[in-house]
Symmetry: C2
Subunit: 590 residues, 2 copies
């Protein structure tokens, strides 16, 4: 090795030893004939000391010539520091350098390689290899490695086998968002990159593999948002001869294990909630349950405390629903107006916001007390089970819309009231998703999860009568309001699978052409099976306490799907196009 130790491991016990360190120059201070140099590597920072009169002149001069991010090796003796720095692991010692080698000089970096950098997104992406030198980014990738490692350990101990499924697969008409790859050996034909290994993992169950997992790259050619990447990573899992209950227990175990081993946290048991309850109580299929503030309906399917008093907005509404914000009865008029404006922004689109103050003195005041008597309002307050000091915030309208709007408001109030502590982790299973959802535009039914999800046995009869009411054996894991994983018990009989494709608008021929291999496989002894997939990038960002997944990916792409560091995608040579038997449309050429 070029070094005897790393920059993160020397301490008082090494004093008097001769060592060789390698690393990057983080900082040089030159003062009163002394030069101190912070030498950095992945493992830490060690201080090097050069001193006029004690250090060879050539070495001292070399030290003074060094710039930031020069790569050097330095030999010398470990000595105890006079003024120790207990903020870093090596803060008790320094190295009195006797030899110094410049392994590679460095141009001045285009931004500061510090936790708080002065570099904007674009420049940091272009010089990603420099951005990755920053502690914060490096730690994200180290955390990612730990999450992967503990995931594998947990699953290996449960007899799961990691099996690699192919990356060059078949394009499907459902997969409008497939990336495709022209085949040189089969001119005019294309592979597709997998959006998930779904059918392959099911085939592995048919093959008897019993417990499969894979930490695997998946691909989706979607218009990108800040938290989407064209290539992303899943923890993909499947089990045979299990019920939904087994999946929930096994993977609740995984998540608890990860929190324990990666974050040192014992998270509370993971409660379960039906999709219907999640929508009713939180207006979202991924509720943040770090705080309460559950929805209360003043007018809905079961009750009506608002109609017939002359307030036409409520009279006409399908749903009147609200939350009680604790301690907010004291909000000023301005504050309430500001909240109302916030709700009226186009992103949310509420028509307005009705409030009821339940003051600490017990009095009640509302923006609609023109229409409702104090007794009416007291009934509302009771329905909310509100406490003095609470501010009730109500929205109304078509049920779906009102719930969606109130979900936004609830999350906003949770943030404003400091109820969404990022160090507090609350996981939740959401169960019993609808099997199908109707696409108004396309005028047909879509699988809410995917076409391989099984209906709940007790709802199978509804497949003939009321598709919208059929619930699926599907489940999502939600942590702090973020969907981190989801899965389902699968269909494993050919007949039912064929029926599903029919419902989704496939002709029998189309279904057979696209998914015949899977339906055929079901005829040769397919076991009951179920599975789940976790968004690995998202899970890592959650563990890292960050919102964007990009910081947890070594070489991410930007919102146009470009890697600006390597300048990809790019044009390719005509000869290559010719060999692949394709050409670029003339209007795409520049």
């Amino acid at each position: 090795m070029l070094r005897s130790h790393t920059c993160g491991e020397l301490s008082l016990e090494h004093v008097n030893q001769n060592v060789v360190l390698c690393g990057w120059v983080q900082r040089v201070r030159d003062k009163g004939g002394m030069v101190w140099l912070d030498l950095r590597d992945r493992y830490g920072i060690t201080q090097l000391l050069f001193e006029e009169g004690k250090t060879k002149t050539s070495v001292l001069e070399a030290a003074r010539s060094l710039g930031r991010e020069f790569v050097i090796s330095a030999s010398g003796e470990v000595i105890e520091r006079l003024s120790k720095n207990d903020k870093i692991a090596t803060g008790a010692i320094e190295i009195r350098v006797s030899e110094l080698n410049i392994l590679n000089p460095a141009k001045l970096p285009p931004f500061l390689i510090e936790d708080e950098t002065d570099g904007g997104d674009d420049i940091r992406m272009k010089y990603r290899y420099l951005d990755l030198r920053r502690n914060t980014v490096r730690k994200n990738l180290q955390l990612r490695h730990q999450v992967a490692r503990h995931t594998r350990t947990y699953l290996d101990e449960l007899d799961f086998i990691e099996v690699e499924t192919p990356v060059l697969i078949k394009s499907t008409p459902e997969g409008a968002r497939d990336f495709v790859v022209p085949s040189r050996m089969n001119p005019g034909e294309f592979y597709a990159l997998p959006q998930s290994p779904q059918t392959f993992k099911q085939l592995l169950m048919v093959a008897g593999f019993d417990r499969y997992y894979q930490i695997v790259k998946c691909f989706r050619d979607e218009d990108l948002r800040a938290d989407r990447q064209p290539e992303f990573t899943q923890i993909d899992c499947e089990m045979s001869f299990v019920t939904q209950e087994d999946i929930l227990n096994t993977f609740e175990g995984l998540i608890r294990n990860l929190f324990k081993n990666v974050k040192g946290l014992d998270i509370p048991e993971v409660p379960r909630m039906t999709y219907a309850d999640a929508m009713r109580l939180y207006g979202s299929d991924k509720p943040d349950i770090r705080f309460g503030m559950q929805f209360v309906e003043l007018k809905g399917e079961d009750s009506d405390l608002v109609s017939g008093k002359g307030f036409s907005i409520f009279d006409d509404a399908e749903l009147v629903v609200g939350i009680a914000a604790s301690g907010c009865a004291s909000y000023t008029r301005k504050q309430v107006d500001e909240l109302t404006d916030w709700m009226k922004r186009p992103q949310i689109g509420a028509k307005g916001l009705i409030y009821v103050r339940y003051n600490t003195d017990g009095s009640i005041k509302s923006s609609v007390d023109k229409f409702y008597s104090e007794e009416d309002l007291r009934q509302w307050v009771e329905k909310f089970n509100a406490q003095p000091g609470d501010l009730l915030l109500l929205v109304s309208g078509p049920a779906d819309k009102a719930r969606k709007q109130l979900n936004e408001l609830r999350l906003e109030m949770g943030s404003r009231l400091g109820l969404r502590n990022p160090d507090d982790y609350r996981a939740l299973w959401v169960l019993d998703f609808p099997l199908l959802e109707y696409g108004e535009e396309e005028n047909r039914w879509f699988a809410m999860h995917h076409p391989f999800t099984s209906p709940k046995p007790e709802d199978i009869a509804l497949l003939e009568t009321d598709l919208g009411k059929v619930r699926a054996n599907a489940y999502d894991m939600v942590i702090n309001g973020v969907e981190v994983g989801g899965g389902s018990v699968r269909i494993f009989e050919r007949e039912l699978q064929q029926k599903m494709f029919g419902i989704l608008g496939f002709s029998p021929e189309e279904a057979q052409a696209q998914f015949g291999f899977l339906m055929n496989a079901f005829e040769f002894g397919a076991p009951p099976h179920a599975g789940i997939a976790f968004g690995f990038d998202r899970l890592c960002s959650l563990f890292g306490g960050a919102d964007s997944i990009r910081d947890f990916i070594a070489f991410p792409k930007n919102n146009s799907g470009r890697d600006v560091m390597i300048d990809s995608p790019s044009t390719i040579a005509d000869a290559q196009l010719k060999e692949l038997a394709i050409s670029v449309s003339s209007d795409a050429k520049q």
Copy 2:
């Protein structure tokens, strides 16, 4: 769970327990009022017992109705077997079944799901999910999982970090064998799939990651042979601040660790051999050192024991080289003739084969004793250090050609003499490869490893004078004659890298356009670094004692790059082509 136990875990200690098993019907025997059923899952086989008079009639009838590969669940009591089968783990017990459920019936499989199957390659590939049910194939993938697991454990303990590098990268002109992916968001532009993560792992070193690895899919659009796949997996590694010696020690450690943990074998220390010696002594850069039979030169650079005796073939030859096959002096004329014919086949293309018998009685006989006296031949025998009973086999001609031919003969003789025991594993480091090789057709120099490989410091001056003589800091690991991995100490200075691209025929502009990001990175403080990559599929097949990698890949492609199970690649819709701004050449359409 649908089952209480797996089919591989019940033994005498479970007798009298009630259990539920799930699995596939392997075999049913119906004899004298008794029905025995072998139930199979991934973990093993358990015998189920049904007995007239003791088993409920409906259950017995159900058992008799079962076909091969039906998926069932069966409940019953564990009882001790009368006649035990000590070949299987559960052979001491059977299950007296009280309840039987058919979870899924099965059509008759198109081939036998047994270790020795009657299914040909094509049908087994089409029904790969059935082929994967066979013990032998399943065990290959389990072994693969173990190799991956122990690789990660070993590297994790040495502070390596697994970092995922992108799959959608940039096509390079060198990469004529790139698979490309049209970008919808960037019309007319393409991503490429990586042939290896080479530049990214080097950037990770520049980023200070210090020790990187990744078990990663790579892609190469080559005409396929039996042991090549368009997508394959590498164990990809890189280290900073190390010498070649550190790499060799670290990864010799990995391989020894894998043999220990996966095969339970302590393999001998890994010897090292220069490329020059490997070529001189074995005529191959991947010698099989399970046996000796090293080359001996009768005429070469240092010696000449053959010229001037009137045998023009030897007189004119650049090289006369041979091997001594122990105990083969007794070969009949017919045997020798057959060997000669074997060498003359077009695949090898030798003009002939000269032999010298060194008989057990000490006498010497040769096919060329017309030209050479017994004294001459005795000199040859001495040069070979041959023993009585040896058969010397000699080839001659241009040095490269003769060595190549003799390499084939040596391997063949090793096989015929039983010297290539597949359970004997001998690893070898081959070092000091040439940096460059000359492409006669293209009339230019090519990097033998890749353009990022550094020349040996002592040979750098030769870059100006004799490119063919420059040795690289490059190394291959060879096991039993198979190259399982290779790597190099990398160039880490911009200037040298630029010079290399120049030697390889890049203009400075081309080099900058294609690899500017890497050369720029070298200017911002790149550490000395080196790495290696192992062919993971190949390594697994070696551990599994098989020649083809295909059996160690869950869903392989055939020699035309097709997955015949899912029928991929395939045509895609015109709408999709349009969205991707490409079209298929008319001559490729059917």
